[in-house]
Amino acid sequence: MYELFSQLSVWMIPAIIVFIPLYAAVRRKQPVYETFVEGAKDGFGTAISIIPHLVGMMVAISMFRASGAMELMLSAVRPVFDWMGIPSEVLPLGLLRPLTGAGSLAYTADLIQTYGPDSMIGRIASTIQGSTDTTFYVLTVYFGAVAVRRTRYALKVGLFSDIVGFFAAIFICLYIFG
């Protein structure tokens, strides 16, 4: 199982970056390099536009950890998480993920910085952050765009999937990297 997952991870990116330009050049006769450069220009702006969000959130999370407030909060849930074999450090990520995309990204970066990207916590955090989207944000933007006020069961479905995704990410990582 580990072998399958690691092969998938190893081959996904090379497969994509060979297939896409090859297909475009051979089948569509596209000037692939020029197209690449044209599209790549957008990347800089996209990354830079994240700075204010990430600075704001990383300041708050960094303070929260340094003050000892994080530890205080985690010590309350640690026995339960220890019993389940889950590192309790990832709990705040599960709480932040549906609420704020920048906040959960900042917390993920903070965990990776503190515990290292190749630690179990770093791997679990990466997987949680990558596997779902910010439910409240999506709901606000999509329903806001059409002025729907009664959203019926959409929030419940979104949060249910977040909870399932959170535990799935943890147990899959514990199983694969454990």
Partner: protein, 220 residues
């Protein structure tokens, strides 16, 4: 919501620091956090530039449109109450394929167009239809093939294998999406709401013949 979370972190930090006498550490942490925020964002530049370049090739070659078309049977099954040739389906397919490639910036406008089309089928403009809820379920769980942002951050902090989380992320996102679809189906069957009757479209268009994200523009 985000305002309160942010305020909560900062206020609680200062209160706890005051109680434990760690005020100078917390002040230092605030500056360190700001610095990390910039470092992490800068670390994203390389991957974002590279990935968006690749995705432009995919888009111009019509690969996103191809993927969108391939999703048609799944979308038809997920949205049984949207008429077969309704433009909403085209936008939904573009939205999902952009999500698959991690193109959040392209996925959101397509999703909003889909919502606007679904709203035309809605008999009660202030209440969500089952189709809207299904679209939301898919977008909140968001299947992504390559989590580029996370790979960039892991790379920045010196991971021996930044891409090793692709497999686990795919598996977790698959489980989350399956859960969303199951829950959505369950609520749908429980709600038993009659399918909305769409107005007959003059000169019905076939949005699925557009070309994905760029082609999405043609549909407007």
């Amino acid at each position: 919501m985000v305002n309160w979370i942010w305020l909560f972190f900062i206020v609680i930090s200062v209160v706890v620091a005051a109680a434990t006498g760690k005020m100078d550490t917390v002040t230092q942490a605030a500056f360190d956090g700001a610095k990390s925020g910039v470092t992490v964002s800068f670390g994203l530049i390389s991957i974002m530039v590279f990935w968006l370049g690749m995705m432009r090739i995919a888009e111009d070659a019509g690969l996103l449109a191809k993927l969108a078309k391939a999703l048609r049977p799944i979308v038809r099954w997920l949205f049984p109450d949207v008429p077969k040739d309704h433009p909403a389906l085209g936008y939904i397919m573009s939205n999902l394929s952009a999500n698959l490639f991690g193109l959040g910036n392209a996925a959101t406008p397509m999703g909003i167009k889909a919502m606007q089309e679904l709203q035309k089928l809605n008999p009660d403009k202030e209440t969500a239809t089952p189709a809207m809820c299904t679209l939301l379920a898919l977008n909140t769980s968001s299947i992504t093939i390559v989590p580029t942002t996370l790979i960039a951050i892991r790379m920045n902090y010196g991971s021996a294998n930044p891409a090793e989380i692709i497999g686990t992320t795919l598996a977790a996102t698959f489980v989350a999406t399956a859960a969303a679809i199951l829950a959505d189906r369950w609520y749908r069957s429980r709600a038993q709401s009659p399918p909305a009757k769409p107005p007959v479209q003059q000169g019905g268009r076939h949005p699925n013949t557009g070309s994905g994200v760029t082609g999405g523009g043609e549909l407007v």
